[in-house]
Amino acid sequence: MSIRRQLQRGLAVLFRRDAADQDLSDELEHYVTEAAAAYVRQGLNPAEAERRARMDAGSLASVREEVRSGGWESLIETGLTDVRYALRRLMGSPGFTFVTTLTLALGIGATTAIVSAVTPILFRPLPYPHAERLAAVVEDHKGVRGAGTFALYHAFSEQAHSFDALAVTRRWQPTLTGSGRPDRLAGERVSHEYLRVLGVSPLMGRDFTETEDRLNGPRVVVVSDGLWRGRLSADPAILGKSLMLDGDPYLVIGVMPPGFQDAEDPAAELWAPLQYDMSQGTAWGHHLRTVARLKPGVGIGAATADVAGVGRAVLTQQRPETYDPNTDFMVASLQGELTRGVRPALLTIVGAVILVLLIALVNVTNLLLARGVQRRTEFALRAALGAGRSRLVRQLLTESLVIAAVGGALGIAVAAVGVKAIVALSPPGLPRADAIAVNGTVLLVGALVTTLVGLAVGILPALHATRSDPQQDIQQGSRRTVGGHRRARGILVAAEVALALVLLVGSGLLLRSSVRLFAVDVGFDQARMLTMQVQLSGHRFDADSAIVRFYTQALDAVRAVPGVTAAGFTTQLPLSSDDDEYGAHFDAEPDRPAATYDVFRYAVTPGYLETLGVPLLSGRSLGADDRAGSPLVAEISASLARDRFGAADPLHRQLKLGPAGPYTIVGVVGDVHQASLAQSQGEAVYLPVGQWPFPDRSMSLVLRGQGALAMLAPAAQSAVWSVDPDQPIVRVATMSDLVARTAGERRFALTLFELFALAALGLAAAGIYGVLSGSVNERTRELGIRSALGASRTEVVRMVVSQGARLTGVGAVVGLIAAAGTSRLIASLLFETPPVEPVTYLTVTALLFVVALVACSVPAVRASRVDPVEALRAD
């Protein structure tokens, strides 16, 4: 009840100020009247009584003030007054206000955007029950992850004890036909426990059974909620109906709940049993991903020991010749594994943005400090007139908070734009990019940062301005002497320069390594080459010969397109994230023992290597006569030849590739970067497309031509469709796009780093400019005397510039040391560039000095124009 009264009375005062004031005045007036009446009763004459009564009561205004300040609403009132006053002061110096709020907006906005982008990717748990128990089982070759094999999955699921469920998956992109135009869908072929690993069951229907996951098992499929609602029109009786996928009917047995997202491929819309074919001996092909759900209470370490033991035992027993002691079998957190590729880049960017925020804060503090110095006289006067220290501090804090609030509001706008930009800039493989959005948490982060910033930047100048002796300050105001505050500001500017230099070094290193990366010789000519993927589906390709015939005819048709100068098909395209590896086995020979090497397998049509421009080093190319039925032949890459045969001649020797072979080596060709620009692993075997026992239904076409590549694409597509109009063509891209995309993460980090470094450089320059121009203002009189005593303009300019150079120099030394210490942190993003590289360090330091010089020049020139007469007369 009393709280209600408190609120009522307070609000009444706030909103009906006049009535409340009147009430108080009436009461006071009555008090004085009664007091006077009492004096009259004691025998004083009315005038004297009135005088005495008023004297007893004291100043009515201050009594009113005292009574008013008792209520909570007075805090709001003085707060509002402070804000109004602060706004008026800020409007009075638009330049200062603009620079400060903009600096804060950039700092806060960038930080908020980055935090909101990075948090969901790295830290928000995967959207599955008990996501902390989800793990990936991986093979690690000295830090490089390899795809898993079915044989080991089989061994783990029978012999390892750490898992509740274990599954392997493989990408599957079936073509859906039947109603409307054919669609190529994203899906996964999964072993039967996959959905149990994720811990999500179909909302309608059922999960896969173990018996369905066998070779030649039933064709069944589970579909996503999105596919069911979209393409399948939310048919409530969908269970038991069939979908035509790649020309076969698949029975729909389940529909996943809305919002379910596949961990391995967020775009996946349907899942079918893997039904792995062990009979052909391909169980050692590295083309599966292994995921697991740990038993409760089993840690990553214990599980790793478990699978490492099983893996080593199985390999040494069954495949001693491929056992490589450098291969570790590991269990890793699934979330960590999914974000493994981007984690270093993202953490680096977070580090960079924190530096930018720091610089922004230092800059704003500096500006406020400078302003505090300029306003010393004002504050001294106010203190002399009776404003308490706490009142002055509060006033200054209010000003800082107002700046922070405006800066923060702008910053949130910057963050909203920034998040969009980050998503747009993000590398194509960025996991969970769909989870990036400005959300409530981020706004909270923004607000928190803003408030802290306001208090942080407010407190220093506030203390500074109120510490000193009013009298001295009033006098100082008129004498314009230089105070010791310059030291503090100098230190801040030097700190700013140091921070900016750390960022500059980082982006310099990234830039150099990116230049080096794109200069890498990938083993073929990337320029002016068009690629597209052709997928075959339907029963007309049941016969292997039909597949080979299609590619041969399509290739002839493409070559007949005017402008096309060379063309070929391959099962995997370099630098396109295709990854098809097999063991290449060489039998023992008199001069060397048997050995198996992991190699990339390419089944190609004649003309493929020639189109790519991969050089033939010895032997012959694959030709049209190397077809099904003719003697099995292969070309191998130079590095494989070197690994196996050293200096000896590999021609006419034989190798087995996985389940197939033996192939006779007829040629040696140059190495090609398959996985990425940075990875030079080049062991490869090229086979004629007809000589692989399971012809591939999906191949990539590469072609070169005259004229615009964009014009060739439709013509090449029509040429393929002239052979069979029902086959989807996807991934149409130029080779240079594919190359650029493999370096996407590095470029992403580089772009953001460069933006941040530029911002930091600008802020540092603003800081140097601010301090120098403030100091020139304060020293106008001194400069006037100097030039009156005969100092030349050059000398004055030199004096100001050398002051700036000293600040920059100190900052640069500290910054270089800090950069040398911290650049190790981005080592994993660098390519053939050491973290401490003198050239980069020197270049960016030079850049910094140039910018600093420009920032010095304006105040220096102004100082040199100081008119001695004016300056001395000014006070």
């Binding site: 408190q6 009436d26 009461e27 008090y31 009446a37 009594v63 005292e66 008792g70």
Partner: protein, 111 residues
């Protein structure tokens, strides 16, 4: 030169007001005068602290306030004790008596 200190003992102004109003509703000056008379001019209350305290007590619900016409025909704001004010007075009186007698005992022991 040294006048005797007539300031109200810190923390007791509320108690004095409540006690005074427990006799009859009164306006601000009436309260001040009554405190001065009964304390035989040991305590003088200045209007600033008095009106601040009255406003605070009124808001806390210990007092009610209303404008009335006095016997001499002037409009005055009269304060009266509420039930909760009565309880507050009793508690404060007990508290004060307990403490004051403790202080008195201590002073006697010293002497």
């Amino acid at each position: 030169m040294d006048e005797p200190n007539t300031d109200v003992i810190p923390g007791t102004l509320d108690l004095l007001i409540l006690k005074t109003l427990s006799l009859e509703p009164m306006h601000g000056f009436g309260i001040a005068r009554r405190v001065e008379q009964i304390s035989r001019s040991v305590f003088k209350v200045n209007p600033g602290s008095l009106l601040t305290a009255l406003t605070r007590l009124e808001r806390a619900g210990a007092l009610d306030a209303e404008w009335r016409v006095t016997g001499s025909g002037r409009r005055a704001k009269y304060y009266s004790l509420t039930k909760s004010g009565q309880k507050q007075l009793e508690a404060a009186t007990d508290d004060w008596t307990r403490r004051a007698s403790a202080v008195a005992r201590l002073l006697r022991a010293e002497g």
